[in-house]
């Protein structure tokens, strides 16, 4: 289900997209490509695009393998909301999975609960490094909500004539 809501000049929100998808690993690439397409009008640099894609990929992967414990059930859903406020992108990735007992520990670089699965423990560290702002809220048994912001197009577009 894809719902596209376009609002012009209502508050500071210039565009908004909400996507709900099954918590399966196939959708990791879908999610990052959807966000990349969403910010294309802002003319992001390759680096900004890569930063956002990596951060989204990390958050969605976390939802799939930690939130929903890699069960691959189609009824488990990840909810992604992208909001543009001028040139600031806000992405929220939420799941209704197991939640995180200790968010501070989870956010420590190299910390992982699944070393046997070849997880590097760098997910939150990358989200933090590649985005301007990161907020993680979680409740054990209820789910996790990751909110990230990044200003896009910090480099002026020289190709513009008008």
């Amino acid at each position: 289900m894809i719902e596209i809501v376009e609002k012009k000049e209502i508050g500071a929100v210039t565009n908004e997209v909400r996507v709900e998808f099954a918590a399966v690993s196939d959708n990791e690439s879908f999610a990052r490509m959807a966000v990349a397409a969403f910010i294309t009008p802002l003319n992001p640099t390759l680096e900004e695009l890569s930063d956002v894609k990596t951060a989204v990929s990390e958050a969605v992967t976390n939802a799939v393998i930690h939130g929903y414990e890699n069960r691959g059930e189609r009824n488990d859903k990840v909810f992604m909301t992208c909001v543009l406020r001028g040139d600031v992108l806000e992405v929220e990735i939420a799941d209704q999975g197991v939640g995180i007992e200790d968010v501070d520990a989870a956010m420590t670089p190299l910390y992982t609960t699944k070393p046997d699965m070849d997880r590097s423990g760098m997910g939150f560290a990358f989200m933090e490094a590649f985005m301007d702002d990161l907020e993680v809220r979680s409740e054990p048994g209820r789910g996790t909500n990751v909110r990230m912001c990044k200003k896009i197009g910090t480099h002026p577009w020289v190709g513009s004539e008008d």
């Binding site: 890569s50 990390e58 799939v64 990358f126």
Partner: protein, 111 residues
């Protein structure tokens, strides 16, 4: 060109265009089959065609390093562009993986 190739005792892995968790499971298990076969001592990751990598790529490299390093094997990364390099360096992989000069070709690792 095959994605997995053994030359001498080096396992050459041609990494896909996008490396995420979805892709990583398959790469890791295939690589481990080669490593467990006993014909492989060192692993070379070739990022020539890779345009996207998240922390799952770091996990693949770390996991294979743990497997070959206990037998004295080494791990190399070749053809990594600036974005992939940044991810490798942020994770501190330069301490355990030889990140080759981008101009060096895969075959030069063997010499």
């Amino acid at each position: 060109m095959e994605d997995f190739k053994v030359i001498n005792n080096y396992l050459m892995i041609r990494m896909p265009e996008e490396i995420d968790h979805h892709e990583s499971v398959d790469i890791s298990s295939k690589a481990d089959r080669y490593i467990m076969s006993g014909r492989v001592e060192n692993v070379v990751f070739d990022f020539e065609r890779t345009t996207f990598m998240d922390s799952s790529g770091v996990g693949i490299i770390l996991g294979r390093y743990k497997k070959v390093s206990c037998f004295g094997g080494k791990v190399y990364a070749v053809n990594a562009d600036s974005r992939i390099r940044r991810i490798l360096l942020m994770s501190g992989l330069q301490n355990i993986v030889e990140i080759m000069d981008p101009k060096k070709k895969c075959g030069e690792v063997l010499q």
